[in-house]
Symmetry: D5
Subunit: 156 residues, 10 copies
Amino acid sequence: MRNESELNGVSLLGNTGVKYPTQYAPEVLETFVNKHPDNEYLVTFTCPEFTSLCPKTGQPDFAKILISYIPREKMVESKSLKLYLFSFRNHGDFHEDCVNIIMKDLIALMDPRYIEVKGIFTPRGGIAILPFANYGDSQHQEMVKQRMLASFPDNF
Amino acid sequence: MRNESELNGVSLLGNTGVKYPTQYAPEVLETFVNKHPDNEYLVTFTCPEFTSLCPKTGQPDFAKILISYIPREKMVESKSLKLYLFSFRNHGDFHEDCVNIIMKDLIALMDPRYIEVKGIFTPRGGIAILPFANYGDSQHQEMVKQRMLASFPDNF
Amino acid sequence: MRNESELNGVSLLGNTGVKYPTQYAPEVLETFVNKHPDNEYLVTFTCPEFTSLCPKTGQPDFAKILISYIPREKMVESKSLKLYLFSFRNHGDFHEDCVNIIMKDLIALMDPRYIEVKGIFTPRGGIAILPFANYGDSQHQEMVKQRMLASFPDNF
Amino acid sequence: MRNESELNGVSLLGNTGVKYPTQYAPEVLETFVNKHPDNEYLVTFTCPEFTSLCPKTGQPDFAKILISYIPREKMVESKSLKLYLFSFRNHGDFHEDCVNIIMKDLIALMDPRYIEVKGIFTPRGGIAILPFANYGDSQHQEMVKQRMLASFPDNF
Amino acid sequence: MRNESELNGVSLLGNTGVKYPTQYAPEVLETFVNKHPDNEYLVTFTCPEFTSLCPKTGQPDFAKILISYIPREKMVESKSLKLYLFSFRNHGDFHEDCVNIIMKDLIALMDPRYIEVKGIFTPRGGIAILPFANYGDSQHQEMVKQRMLASFPDNF
Amino acid sequence: MRNESELNGVSLLGNTGVKYPTQYAPEVLETFVNKHPDNEYLVTFTCPEFTSLCPKTGQPDFAKILISYIPREKMVESKSLKLYLFSFRNHGDFHEDCVNIIMKDLIALMDPRYIEVKGIFTPRGGIAILPFANYGDSQHQEMVKQRMLASFPDNF
Amino acid sequence: MRNESELNGVSLLGNTGVKYPTQYAPEVLETFVNKHPDNEYLVTFTCPEFTSLCPKTGQPDFAKILISYIPREKMVESKSLKLYLFSFRNHGDFHEDCVNIIMKDLIALMDPRYIEVKGIFTPRGGIAILPFANYGDSQHQEMVKQRMLASFPDNF
Amino acid sequence: MRNESELNGVSLLGNTGVKYPTQYAPEVLETFVNKHPDNEYLVTFTCPEFTSLCPKTGQPDFAKILISYIPREKMVESKSLKLYLFSFRNHGDFHEDCVNIIMKDLIALMDPRYIEVKGIFTPRGGIAILPFANYGDSQHQEMVKQRMLASFPDNF
Amino acid sequence: MRNESELNGVSLLGNTGVKYPTQYAPEVLETFVNKHPDNEYLVTFTCPEFTSLCPKTGQPDFAKILISYIPREKMVESKSLKLYLFSFRNHGDFHEDCVNIIMKDLIALMDPRYIEVKGIFTPRGGIAILPFANYGDSQHQEMVKQRMLASFPDNF
Amino acid sequence: MRNESELNGVSLLGNTGVKYPTQYAPEVLETFVNKHPDNEYLVTFTCPEFTSLCPKTGQPDFAKILISYIPREKMVESKSLKLYLFSFRNHGDFHEDCVNIIMKDLIALMDPRYIEVKGIFTPRGGIAILPFANYGDSQHQEMVKQRMLASFPDNF
Ligand SMILES: [Ca+2]
Ligand SMILES: [Ca+2]
Ligand SMILES: [Ca+2]
Ligand SMILES: [Ca+2]
Ligand SMILES: [Ca+2]
Ligand SMILES: [Ca+2]
Ligand SMILES: [Ca+2]
Ligand SMILES: [Ca+2]
Ligand SMILES: [Ca+2]
Ligand SMILES: [Ca+2]
Ligand SMILES: [Ca+2]
Ligand SMILES: [Ca+2]
Ligand SMILES: [Ca+2]
Ligand SMILES: [Ca+2]
Ligand SMILES: [Ca+2]
Ligand SMILES: [Ca+2]
């Protein structure tokens, strides 16, 4: 079981006084320490409630965001990730930009061995868009290539 | 957030005065600038409302079109893509030809690093057809082979 | 759009005077010319209404047939393929034989770069059979191996 | 088996010389005689490939149309129904209007004992519309009420 | 357990010498005695492998047939029912006629308290047909009405 | 929480010394007392692992059995029900007979206010059978009629 | 086809200058005239992209909203309905309140013969809420009762 | 929007100091005031994470609990409902008892016009149990009967 | 079509005098000759009705068995395979043992180029087991490795 | 069939006197001997009823746990695995920690050639977490890499 010192830096989980950000807020992201650095393992988040705005028309867009990464020393805490994703609610950007921005913010936060971000956006005018971006350190360049290949959707 | 100059050349999105083309119209396609050229990422469109005509009988055909690509410097704007696909509405060609034509028009437009187009056509007389075509620049020849292999349908 | 000369040899599509064959009839198969020979692309047919007879008991069998191929110069016309498959209606053979015969007839017709045929037969006495056969020219021997590997069903 | 005189008036089925109408064309509808008038029975058509235009923007719309009726003396022939529905391809009307028009044309054609028409339109801007209309002669007024109640969608 | 005399009249089940009929053959239908005549109960058959021919073009049609009935004194044996339905394989009739004929043959065979027959035919040219017919003796007239109402398809 | 006296008569639950019966064994059924006799409530069991033998050929048959009832004073204990259903494993009877026998045994055991039994048998030779039987005391005759009506399968 | 005068009052459809409201805005709702007032018919909207805020914590909530109504003289235009529902984006209320407010606003707008509103909210802490409200004029009181009964979810 | 006085009595929502009860704890249930008492409407909760213990073996059981009710003056707050259901985690009772206890506790709390509780328990030894209980005041006796009838599972 | 000499050795298909074995009976397996030895092809059987007994408690277990192989000279006849699998009905072994035994018996029978056997067993006490075994001759060692890798279940 | 000496060490299966542990209890895990050490084969467990507590808030979490391994000499007995997983019921840890702990305990117990553990946790606040860890001996390092690659979820 995690003891209190191992929960150090986790301030948002179980804290309800925190205000939900209404503007893009990468600063809310928090981390905790990886207790199993000896083996490379994979952590995936699925966030089916992402919403942002169209940069030209202001129309709301909806997406499911999938984030997968292999941690190095730090791991993102899930409640802070939820608040961060919520902060796109009144932010306007193309779908392709949102996915790249989320990936870059998480790289800056955690310095993961490998990370990928995918957005499954709901259709507009009979067309849906699905952007996918990924990154790896020098030991994970082959994984970057393999996951790119595996991430082409066959039918969605 | 995209500023106005970064939206340069995007004339159709949010513009309702534009007329829907009734003949094959590759000239309606528009692009915007790729802001993340440093990492290769994947963008997929799904267009479940494609319809064209049989070149011999004039009978309407229906398909879902899937387009995936890795951008170089230009990216296709989704509303212009919708208008382009709509322009096949009164156009007669075999299913296999439509998929090849769409791929060639998007290569001419964007010069992508890699692109693939798949058509999932509804059955006629108890038989459905699914054509798949793909293309890559010299750095993506291995991806062309791998994606061809991965695109055989197992059961549809 | 295909012009008339490009539709040369297509006699069955849109022709209703043709009689439905009641015996195994490979001679009804027709082809048209491949207009995109420069890039290798994939065409798949799905035929969920295949029916043949048991060679020993005469009992009717039902299957979905999946055919995928990479064309060289000729392409099979889909209405003629439908009539060909219909000609098995009163033909008796084991499931494994039907799939091999269909593949061999299409190789003789089109000389494709690569082809595969799969039959998903409905269960008899609590057991279903699914045969899969494939073929490639000398440039596609690696594809023959890879597709064989990919075609093991995980759960059907 | 139906003999030739019982197929009287069926001119489109198996006739490929007929041209596909490009304007709203209720006159293509054909009927054949009901051979089982002694018992009331139900016939349903499902037409997943309906497409029309928005009356204000010209944008194409897509729908699945469901038609159910109890015949009196005449029955609508399915190939002529297909051509009729195809004639909406370049016609602009609200979804609610299309469904009412189809129902009224079929009442004029067949004088059925009971009929209902439902349209399941694909979403635009995150909202889908599903209109349902029905009609019965004086013996089927209770059926009109019961089917209206049963046709509220629970989740689509 | 059923003893031998209770299996009286069941000649086809477990008998492989019987030849599969190739023409419409209502005479192959067999019955066994209902051992629970004291309570009204319901028996349903589903037959997903029905195939017949178009009366005008000779083209094969495919359907799932659903038969439900409340037995009086006789019950139809399932293997004989299978052979009977198989005998439509080379028979040409409209979908609406097939369903009415099957129902009338089973009424003549068993004199059931109530019976209904539904055919779920695969689409032709983008349109599928689903006929439904039912019948009841004088004690089951309300059931005839209620089941007709319940058999309108909502979405298929 | 149930105290020990309220568990009186429950001998099989949590008792592993009991032998699995290999012949039809209605005597293994056990009951416990209904603690909520003031309100009529519904209990349903689903048993997807039922298997019996064909009375003529000895071939094994498989089914999902659904049992629903409104208790009076006694309730069937679920582990004893499992053993009882297991005892059909080497028993030969028509599907229609099995469902009637299970219902009659449970009426004799519990004297329920209402009970119904349905069997969803896997197909043989392209035909599946689904028998349904139900029973109610004099206060539940309307429920018997309504549930019979509601139990016609629409598509399975 | 609707002519221009029949499109009178429809100002938002095809008009992209309109700003998306950021506060609860029932005033954006628009209507058009019902051209088929002679028969009662049913119109359903499904809006899978509804989002509002928790009145106590400010946390975003997500829902699919289903609206069904029978029009009298006026019909709600779908693009204005989309903008109205979007105006809940920064509004805080219990799920049960949102559904009642939407229904009351639409009654005030259209005076429909019958209307119902259902919200299918995504789970929080392992519990999901689904509110349903309905209303009818004096001729539709039986429909109010029947639809309430039919709207209990069986499993969601 | 709910103001603060309308949130009176809601102490658990957004309050993380509250301890999760480890014993059956009906006292944690909280209510808020119904703001729409003029129209009868329906509220449903789905709780897929219910777990309790077998009263005889101590083995954990898992269920989805569905609760539907028509409020009178008080409505149960969803976070307090979650804590209440969590309090069964170390409680031993038969499935049929749990469902009856939950219903009786909610009647005592809210005095609803109508309420029903259903438990969909995961199978043990190939048998699953699904109990359903319901209650109504004198104006809702017909609803009690109708919902009982509608709650028989057809196939789960 | 297979002629009679090509059906040599097939004694069980269409023969109803054969008794169903009640003990483990590998001797019932029969083969026929492979008529297409020139190309390596794949044959898969799916047997969703497998049942055996727990070796310690005697409790019945249920599974779907999947068998895939590449034939050399002999092929297993499907009706004999059905009888063989049926012979496990009163046999007690761990799931992992059954799968290995079936694979070894089929290797001894056919000497296939490659074979794999998978068992998808229904859960007991909230845990399901899925064993997978495979084998290849010296030319198929790479296939053994690749199929092992591909057979890890992602979610079942 | 396994004889008694081959069941040596299996004490929990079919033994109901054993108490369910209420604290984390790796000591309950038991093994039996692998009878097929000559071929490498794969065993998978799926445990959809895992529940643990949040280390900070005490809130219960729910998951499906998937365990796959290739045995060396010892195999984990499934009932003891069930009891072990049950012992997390009152244990508080992050999802990522639980999956690593389960994998390490099973490595210590069995010394498998390869093992992987995946947890599919239900969402909290709109975000779900899915951790995956794996391990192999020196002969299975390539498998470790390949399975990591294959275990990225595409959509869950
Ligand atoms: Ca993928
Ligand atoms: Ca893929
Ligand atoms: Ca594939
Ligand atoms: Ca595969
Ligand atoms: Ca309905
Ligand atoms: Ca409904
Ligand atoms: Ca129905
Ligand atoms: Ca219905
Ligand atoms: Ca039903
Ligand atoms: Ca029904
Ligand atoms: Ca309902
Ligand atoms: Ca219901
Ligand atoms: Ca029901
Ligand atoms: Ca696989
Ligand atoms: Ca896999
Ligand atoms: Ca994967």
